[in-house]
Symmetry: C2
Subunit: 141 residues, 2 copies
């Protein structure tokens, strides 16, 4: 194994390649639930009993706020989430999972486990290392 300085761009390229290559198997596609990748991601992000303001959602998704309106519209039409005006600041609307949304979220997370085959092929040590590194990356920003 090389001990020379690692190349961060190499990791980026691999991450992008892996992510795109796995999209078809990626539970985030949520084909079984007829949900788009972004819709799945939103369902991951909003935990039951922990509603999120629409603006916060835009920040987290890294997209313009105007997109959230349609995104939430579609999720609301399907009965997965609900808009609630914030009592403190009536400009703000928070998004809350409905009981159905909460149930679908649980199924989705369960589905992830059964579809994570390529990751399961890693050794236990590698899986632990990957999780540790990713946790560091996700928390650190």
């Amino acid at each position: 194994m090389s001990r020379s300085a690692p190349d961060p761009s190499r990791a980026w390229q691999l991450l992008v390649k892996f992510f795109f290559a796995q999209r078809e198997h990626l539970p985030a596609r949520g084909e079984a639930f007829e949900l788009s990748p972004v819709q799945c991601h939103v369902l991951h992000l909003i935990e039951p009993e922990r509603p999120m303001a629409m603006g916060r959602l835009a920040e987290t998704l890294g997209c313009d706020a105007s997109n959230i309106t349609g995104l939430v519209d579609r999720l609301e039409d399907r009965g997965l989430v609900q808009r609630q005006p914030s009592p403190e600041d009536r400009r703000i609307k928070v998004i809350r999972l409905t009981p159905t949304g909460s149930r679908v979220r649980t199924q989705l997370l369960r589905h992830v486990t059964s579809s994570a085959r390529p990751l399961s092929r890693l050794s236990a040590a590698d899986q632990r290392a990957l999780i540790r590194i990713l946790e560091r990356l996700v928390d650190e920003q």
Copy 2:
């Protein structure tokens, strides 16, 4: 550190979360080049002097073949790639980088390096570990 069996779905969740969280910084967005994420990915995938059939591109991107037509149309309109009918099988068209496309690809890869800051924050050992694990994942499918 826990020694219990690692949870592959945890790694998936983290990967998805990380990927979405980083999209705004992700060079794959290629804002500097006015390229969409998928267009950037195609430019990564097609190496200079190694043209790729449209069908192969659809497979690699994991999308329906009908999308490739428009995708390649837009790249062709911008002078980044060229369609060439295959001499052996005239149903097949291969996509080749133009000199401009090749140049943009190089700039894009260079841009990756300078934007990979969140990954640079990892220790050298973690970076090496991440690259090793990802290489295993990408090759293993």
